[in-house]
Structure formats: C-alpha cells, structure tokens
C-alpha cells in the first residue's frame, strides 16, 4: 500500500466519525421535537413557569413557627421509619447472603440452582417496592408489616444480586486454596468468603439503609405508617409548611447517615 492510499484511508475514518456524530445529534433533536409535539410540551412555557413556581415554594413551603411545634412528633416518626429501614435491610442482608452463595459461580451447588436464585432475585428486585406495598395491602392492610415486607422483598432482590457479584469477585482464588487444604464448604464460606467480602457487603447494606429510608417515606404514604403518613396528613390539610419540614428532616437524616457511613467505610477498608 502506498503512502497516498494510507492517508486517504485514515481521512475517511475521521470523516466517518464526524458523520456518525452529526447523525446522532440530529436524531436526538428529532426525537425531542417529536416527543414534545406528541405530549404538547412547550419548553419555553416550562421555563417561564419556573420563577412562579419558585416564588410559590418560598411563600408556602418554608417551615413556619407552627410547623416547628410539630418537630418532636416528626422526629419521633422519623426515628421509627429509620429504625424500620435498618431492621429490614439487616434481615434482608442475612437472607441475601446465603442465597447469593447458591448463585455465585464459585460456591453454587449446581448450575440450575444458581439460575433459579438469579431469576428469583431478579423477580423480587424488578417489582417496584410501591407495587409490592399495594399488593401486600390486600393481605396485611394498612399496617407497618406491609411496609416491612414491601421493603424486604426489593432489598432482598437487590442485595442478592449485589452479593453474588461480590462473592464472584473476591473469592475464586481463596476458595480454591481452602478446598485444597481439605476445608468443608461451611469452613470455606466463613474463613474465606466472609472475611474477603465483609467490607463490600457492609457498603451495600449501608447504601440500602439510605435507599430504604427514602423509599419508606413513599410507602408510608400508601400504608399510613411512619413518616410518610405524617407527610400525607399535613399535605392533605394544606399545611404545606409542616409537610416541607417533614421533607427537610428526611433530607437532613439521609445526609447525616451518608456522612456517618462514609466514615465507617473508611475505617473498615
């Protein structure tokens, strides 16, 4: 091949890339206008409404003195919700860990069993917790158990999946070595897999506790329990100041938890 054809070939690579970018951008724009036309969404009107919305928020959603008198009650419900999330997540984590052992490549008893575990986990994970709550309300009614199980199912599905990946990642080498010493299955799990993956597992559990505090608010609205119930109550009474105090307190709690868990993670790792 001569220099000339080489040069023109590399040129054609560049021009092709340019063409791909142009076509992509045009496609995205076309999709946007198509979707806007179908849903009758007007971007300029949306932007124009922003300042008004902001003003409304400032005048209605800033907690006033009356809202502050409700703070003790809000904090009580908030602790209840937070503790429920912790309880749910820890219980789900224990179940998920033993399930993930059956799903992981290095520790599964057989391939069909592993597949069954993965499918079960995917099912529990992919039904949204709000849907679980609505379904469970038929059997438990407006009860704290409904919220507990709704969160438990999604957390269990999520953590099983995460733990399978963690166990796969950390343990292939040490599992082989422990088998070679004559260790039993349970010995390999508790002496090899658990110590190798404990910090990843803890990171996931802490993350799920945070997530569950957020979701439990929404589920509480449905089931009439916890902090979600309070939010619903104030909102329906048009007491927006108190409702926004509820939201603010949840945000503060999640931020505080994030800082604490960040520190815990640093210590373990």
């Amino acid at each position: 091949m001569t220099e000339g054809t080489k040069a023109s070939k590399s040129l054609s690579v560049f021009s092709r890339r340019k063409r791909v970018y142009t076509v992509t951008i045009l496609c995205v724009l076309a999709l946007f206008f198509f979707a806007s036309a179908v849903t009758r969404y007007d971007p300029s009107a949306g932007l124009a409404a922003l300042p008004r919305a902001f003003l409304w928020i400032v005048s209605n959603l800033v907690p006033d003195e009356k809202a502050l008198t409700r703070l003790p009650n809000i904090l009580k419900k908030l602790t209840e919700t937070a503790l429920l999330s912790v309880a749910v997540t820890v219980t789900a984590a224990v179940f998920a860990f033993f399930f993930s052992l059956m799903g992981s490549k290095t520790t599964r008893p057989s391939e069909p069993a592993a597949k069954a575990v993965r499918i079960t986990a995917a099912f529990f994970r992919n039904v949204p917790d709000v849907v679980w709550a609505i379904l469970l309300m038929f059997s438990f009614g407006q009860n704290i158990l409904t919220g507990f199980f709704a969160l438990f199912f999604t957390t269990f599905g999520m953590l099983t999946r995460a733990f399978i990946e963690t166990v796969d990642e950390v343990s292939a080498d040490c599992v082989e070595a422990l088998h070679a010493t004559g260790a039993t299955y349970m010995q390999t799990v508790f002496q090899g897999i658990v110590p190798s993956s404990v910090s990843e597992i803890l990171t996931w559990v802490l993350f799920m506790i945070e997530t569950n505090i957020r979701s439990s608010t929404l589920i509480g609205i449905l089931t009439g329990t916890g902090i979600g119930y309070l939010f619903d109550l104030y909102y329906k009474r048009l007491d927006y100041a108190s409702a926004s105090l509820v939201v603010l307190s949840i945000v503060v709690l999640v931020i505080v938890l994030e800082t604490i868990t960040g520190k815990i993670r640093k210590v373990i790792l």
């Binding site: 040490c174 422990l178 004559g182």
Partner: protein, 259 residues
C-alpha cells in the same frame, strides 16, 4: 512403594478440550520433581487432579497405595490434608492476618463448626508460630496479608501448606509472579523442606534452568502427554526444544548461550 502413582490419566473439559491424555507417572517418597512444558500443556490440570480440585475423566490416581480417583466426603478431606498446595497467585485470604492464613492449613483436620468460627487449639497456634519463624515471618505474623510483598505472600502460602503436615506438596508455578531474588528464596525454602522434612515436592515450572538446578527429576509435558521423564542432568538441549515444540534459537534460554 511409590507415594504417588498416576495411571493412564486423561482429562477432557466439556467433552471438547483435551487437557491430559493418557498420562502415567510415579513419584517416590522424598523426591523433588519438576514438571515443565508450554502454557496450556496440562501442567496445572495434572496437579489439580492429584488433589482432586479437578476430577479426571479416565485413569486412576494412587496416593500412598490408596485409590483416590473417586473418594468423596470425609475421605477426600483426609487425602487433601496430606497434600499441600502452593499457587502462583498465593491464593491467601488477603483481608486476614498472616497467622490466620497459616492456621487455615488446619481446617481439614477440624470439625465443620470449630473450623468455621476459627477456633484453634494452643498447640496449633504454637505450631503455626514455629513454622512462621522457620520461614522468617515472625515479625509479619499479625500483619494483614495485603500489606506483604509477593515473596512474603508466597512464604505464607508455604507456611499454610506446612501447617497441614503434608506428605506431598504440589506447587503450581510458585515463582512465576516473583522477581529473581524472591524466586531464589522460595525455591531454596522448597528444597530445604524437601531435604529436612522429607516432604515430596511436585513443582510446575516455566523456568527450565530453575527446574534443572533444583530438581532430581524432570517431567516434560506437551499437548497433554508426557514426552520426557528422567534425571534433570540428562535433559538435553534437543529434548527441551521438543518439549516446547520450538526451533533452534526459539527459546529465551537460547539467548544467553549464544553470547
């Protein structure tokens, strides 16, 4: 009687890839044998079928006169405790301390429960410290394994194998990830263990010179079959090339000789 006898051993993965083909060999008690051969020749599979991490497709394996090809459960655990294994990537539990990793060598002797919770007797702990001091790791005993250098990790691997009180140690490329200095330390320890404790060593190696210098006997494997089995001193240049299926001058070992 030979400590280890492999008879007509074959292994195919998923009925497609042939790793071992009709391999027969025997190893006497106290021997130091190296296995050489190109990557993918079946060296690792051979070692792993001896302690049953891999199940052979055909053939028999006799360990100390007992047919272990199909043993299961308790009996398999007992066989494995008598066979230590050392890995290229050390295969330690990195987040645990050195001493805990060494004590893992006792798991095969313990009940499922006491092993799971990590309960070891005082005697076992003392024994672990004796082995650690022999390998020059006393100061590292309470360090986490991920703080150690490669050479130190491999010494922990050896300590774990010794903790099993094995009769045979299988080494799968023990120095392939180590620098020349640490490699010498590790090979010297293996030779010392072999000479003073009379533990039989079967070592997979990539470095032909190392195999020649350290072992009494060399087994050459290529394409899943044994092509050489004899004294290290009698391994000819020609034989090496036929084991690695390379032309004259095609091996890294040829470079030095030309100068």
């Amino acid at each position: 009687m030979a400590l280890l006898e492999v008879k007509n051993l074959s292994k195919t993965y998923d009925n497609v890839t042939t790793a071992l083909q009709d391999i027969s060999l025997s190893v006497e008690e106290g021997e130091f044998v190296s296995v050489i051969g190109p990557s993918g020749a079946g060296k690792s599979t051979l070692l792993r079928s001896i302690n049953r991490l891999v199940d052979a497709s055909q053939g028999t394996i006799l360990f100390d006169g007992q047919d272990i090809t199909r043993v299961k459960g308790k009996e398999l655990r007992r066989v494995r405790t008598k066979t230590g294994m050392i890995f290229q990537h050390y295969n330690l539990v990195n987040r645990l301390s050195v001493i805990e990793n060494v004590l893992h060598g006792r798991l095969g002797y313990k009940s499922a429960l006491s092993g799971s919770v990590g309960y070891y007797t005082e005697g076992e702990k003392e024994q672990a410290f004796v082995i650690l001091s022999k390998l020059g790791l006393t100061e590292q005993a309470y360090k986490r394994c991920d703080e150690l250098s490669g050479g130190q990790k491999q010494r922990v691997g050896i300590a774990r194998a010794l903790m099993q009180e094995p009769r045979l140690i299988l080494c799968d490329e023990p120095i392939a990830s180590l620098d020349p200095g640490s490699s010498k330390v590790i090979m010297d320890y293996l030779r010392e263990i072999n000479k003073t404790m009379k533990i039989t060593c079967l070592v997979n190696l990539h470095q032909v010179e190392v195999a020649v210098r350290y072992s009494e006997r060399i087994i050459g494997i290529t394409g899943g079959t044994v092509v050489y089995d004899g004294p290290a001193g009698e391994l000819s240049e020609r034989m090496i090339h036929s084991i690695y299926q390379s032309a004259e001058g095609g091996l890294i070992t040829d470079v030095r000789e030309r100068q």
